[in-house]
């Protein structure tokens, strides 16, 4: 029964794309650009809801292949299906399999997660609070640390809340993210 559910998924995934690429889903229409810059020449359009292959990342840009064309779109215009480097189709199927494996369930249940009951019963721990205090750093130390990492503070306005037209549902395009 489990096999029945997983197999079509696996098959579909294998047919859909080369095994080495990471699959992504376009969340909105975006221009396909020749390089990772808003001022780069547009070489096409990647449409919302279309499945694409993710090839590379540079800053706020992701290189994709969509309908045979390669170009760059804004990083937030596309969502990846699985972490780069893993054979996502098979890894996904394996994960499904494991979830239905009773042994795996036992192993997961053995991990003690934070639960409400535990949090509700918690008593103030002054020793841990002292340990926390002991690790505090001064602003000066933080600035030195930033300078060592060549981090340069930049000016940037807060992002306003987008207008509430969010009712638009997320396309799932036939596969779960």
């Amino acid at each position: 029964m489990m096999f029945k559910r997983v197999f079509p998924l696996l098959l579909a995934a294998c047919l859909a794309m080369p095994a080495w690429a990471t699959e992504g889903l376009m969340l909105r229409d975006d221009s396909l650009r020749a390089s990772a810059s808003a001022s780069a020449k547009s070489v096409g359009v990647a449409a919302k809801g279309s499945k694409v292959d993710l090839l590379a990342r540079q800053g706020g840009w992701t290189q994709i292949r969509a309908a045979g064309k390669t170009g760059w779109v804004r990083l937030l215009s596309v969502r990846g299906r699985a972490p780069t480097g893993s054979n996502n189709a098979l890894a996904g199927a394996a994960e499904l399999t494991q979830q239905r494996d009773p042994n795996k369930v036992v192993a997961t249940a053995g991990l003690r997660g934070l639960n409400e009951e535990e949090l509700r019963k918690a008593q103030y721990d002054s020793r841990e609070m002292q340990r926390l205090e002991a690790q505090a750093v001064t602003g000066e130390a933080a600035r030195r640390f930033a300078a060592e990492g060549n981090l340069v503070a930049a000016k940037l306005d807060y992002l306003p809340a987008p207008k509430p037209k969010e009712a638009a549902t997320t396309p799932t395009g036939g596969f779960e993210f």
């Binding site: 706020g60 934070l114 509700r120 505090a136």
Partner: protein
């Protein structure tokens, strides 16, 4: 049934406090309790002189510290000291449930990154405290006054310092926008309702106890969905201001979105937050083309403190 009753009590208390034409009975009751609920707004500056004001400096004041805090919460102007006392209680209770990872190098590192990110906010001078707690859960927490915690389970999923900065930035966002205090502003009606039922608010500690509830249960309460989205926007911006890769936070969300919702390690996170993919989508919506000209930030993969 209980819910209805609860809502009713809440509504009653709310109308007593907020309505322009307050219910006389409650008003009288508050007066009896010397809670000074009906004090006009001009009395608000009291909160700038917190508990230290109790000596002889203000002889007419009949308010006890608990009254001041309650008043401050109602006016939405809690002093930093009061905010800190509330946060201390929550953080201390939280650490009663889950301990800090016994790795000073790790804790020091997280405080350095967190403090640097927090300095990019409008509240750089809060006594910021950051900690990694020993849990396989994938989650992060904040408490008023500058307390931020990340679980070891989440920390292990991070790839670099920018990822950490983004996650801490989200929690810093909750603190600087006072999201939990705002929830308490609503939940203090519970304390008042408790008072109506005969439990008097005797001192500030008891009031904080009433506000915070049992243990660190407050950490498992959901904030408003909009508060989570706001914290994401703030987190992304603070990390970028600090010189980090601004896109680290959405990338972390994307990653967490790949964890099965059947996995117990994300049970609490998924229960209390919008779905990671919805948070990613929200950021996409909020950013649009606004960051097109933002210089590429740093990831600092090499410096990232890796757990053994």
């Amino acid at each position: 049934m209980t819910k209805t009753l609860f809502a009713l009590i809440l509504a009653m208390a709310a109308s007593a406090v907020q309505a322009s034409d307050p219910d006389r009975t409650y008003k009288d009751w508050f007066k009896d309790q010397k809670l000074a609920m009906a004090t006009p707004p001009q009395a608000a500056p009291r909160q700038t002189a917190p508990s230290a004001s109790s000596p002889s400096s203000s002889p007419v004041s009949t308010e006890r510290p608990a009254d001041q805090l309650l008043h401050a919460l109602l006016s939405g102007k809690v002093s930093v000291e009061e905010e800190r006392r509330i946060g201390d209680k929550i953080a201390g209770n939280f650490l009663g449930a889950v301990k800090l990872v016994p790795d000073d190098g790790l804790q020091h590192y997280v405080n350095l990154v967190g403090s640097w990110v927090a300095q990019q906010s409008e509240r750089p001078d809060l006594p910021w405290r950051f900690g990694v707690v020993d849990s396989d859960d994938i989650n992060a927490f904040a408490a008023p006054g500058g307390y931020v915690f990340v679980t070891k389970g989440l920390y292990r999923r991070l790839a670099n310092e920018a990822d950490l900065a983004g996650v801490l930035g989200h929690e810093i966002g909750h603190v600087i926008r006072k999201h939990q205090l705002k929830v308490m502003q609503k939940s203090q009606f519970i304390a008042l309702a408790a008072g109506l039922l005969g439990k008097q608010v005797k001192d500030e500690n008891q009031l904080i106890q009433n506000l915070v509830g049992n243990g660190a249960e407050i950490m498992s309460r959901s904030l408003d969905k909009e508060a989570e989205f706001e914290a994401d926007r703030v987190g992304m911006v603070l990390a970028a201001r600090a010189g980090y890769d601004a896109y680290a936070l959405p990338k972390v969300l994307e990653d967490i979105g790949h964890v099965s919702d059947q996995d117990s390690r994300v049970a609490l996170l998924f229960k209390t937050h919008p779905r990671p993919i919805d948070r990613f989508d929200h950021l996409a919506e909020a950013v649009g083309d606004r960051l097109d000209n933002l210089p590429e930030g740093k990831s600092l993969d090499q410096r990232f403190y890796r757990l053994p």
